[in-house]
Point group: C2
């Protein structure tokens, strides 16, 4: 059991604080620049103190988890006052480990790879937690902490974490935008996006069972020119960029499978 101070009261803070408490840890303080935000999260917890001061010199916490927005991290590091012999970790996918060097002698990254939305409960058990630490002893403590809430705990270096974030942009952010395009095409033709739900779920399922490069289907993969031409003609009535995307994907899929087969 650890005593943990949560710096931040946004989505990540909310989900981590509640998950950690559920596993028997104690949340001592919740910090937010806005006291009312801190209070809102504290209400969900057993016995934490809300605060809008970064002076933690009298805190009884032994771990400080900084869950603030990427662009607020530097400011927190410059102002925070910590007691002796504690550990500080940030939860950012992009900031380096070393950014914490000035805040405390024992520092680490505790990056949960998950998309958090307010009021939507997330099961952290299957969310990978990526750790990086200033030294072996710090890592051991963080592994213990991470394994208490997740079954997937990895040691990931700063460059790896940055690449992981890049790959998630392709696999999640861009994928979601393809869904937006797809939904608009359907709705303009009086069909609901829900028609594709089963097919999309099966696509994801196959990508992990067969591996995505073995699961590729569709006209580009088959080099079915007559269908590709029909699709390009249909796309004339949509934003020009959608046609550009269609052409770019089709060309790349063709090239990829010419080279590998």
């Amino acid at each position: 059991m650890f005593r943990i101070a949560i710096i931040g009261a946004g989505n990540v803070a909310w989900h981590l604080a509640t998950a950690l408490e559920k596993e028997g840890h104690r949340i001592t303080e919740v910090y937010s620049r806005s006291l009312s935000n801190a209070q809102a999260l504290v209400k969900k917890l057993w016995n934490a103190t809300p605060t809008h001061s970064l002076d933690f010199s009298h805190s009884r916490a032994n771990i400080f988890l900084v869950c603030v927005r990427d662009d607020a991290l530097q400011g927190v590091i410059e102002q925070i006052k910590l007691p002796a012999e504690v550990l500080i970790a940030h939860t950012s996918g992009t900031h380096t480990l070393e950014i914490l060097e000035k805040a405390n002698p024992y520092f680490a990254v505790f990056y949960p790879l998950q998309t958090f939305t307010k009021d939507k409960e997330v099961n952290l058990k299957n969310a990978p937690i990526c750790l990086e630490a200033s030294e072996e002893e710090v890592l051991k403590i963080l592994v213990q902490l991470a394994e208490s809430i997740s079954e997937q705990v990895y040691q990931v270096s700063t460059p790896q974490r940055q690449v992981l974030h890049l790959s998630a942009v392709f696999a999640c952010n861009f994928t979601n935008f393809l869904f937006t395009i797809s939904k608009e095409i359907l709705e303009r033709n009086e069909m609901p996006f829900g028609l594709l739900q089963n097919l999309i779920q099966e696509t994801v399922h196959k990508a992990f069972v067969l591996s995505p490069e073995n699961a590729q289907t569709g006209p580009a993969k088959r080099e079915d020119t007559s269908i590709i031409e029909k699709h390009l003609a249909l796309l004339e009535s949509y934003p020009l960029e959608w046609k550009t995307l269609y052409e770019l994907f089709t060309q790349q899929i063709k090239t990829y499978y010419q080279n590998t087969t």
Copy 2:
């Protein structure tokens, strides 16, 4: 209960024939140009006859389901011989309804929107089946047939079906290729693609709970220029087209949310 002849012995034929028989219909014949392919499917069925002849004039089937590849459909239609008072339907996402006109007076489309892979069982209950028919009486029969294997049965016109296919190319085929890129980026940095499984599943889940345009996250949506620049720098060591894709998506996401907010 219908008596059904299955024309074709590929993935679609296999999955439809077994699903239909499970719901109490009787498969009378399975046709394939290669008798051994027809025999292989017949082995999975109760009492069907394998055949490589398209002369069905003495068949006892009342519904003929043509489940052949798009480019083989025309040939089947030209050669098939049917008894009187039967119904023929094709299962293609792209061919028109009218292509069947010459084969038989009663014709229809029976298009299951699902991605079928050999030896991987698929639950058809949640797969939409899109119907189009030459007349109301034919439609009624097909609705009965479709509802026996699926809970989602829709009447979809030929232009709608073609647009549906286009939208599935964006939402499934292109999405899968984004997964391939993502996997390669991870593996070049000694991380497994499995790291993203939970995040991708949550992305899909959110797209249907919140709608994709409300679920968009990431640096492009936030217009986080410093991260976008870091990502473009990282992409220098990958195929040029991946950077082009990154730039195109980023630009389009920015534009989309500038216009809608």
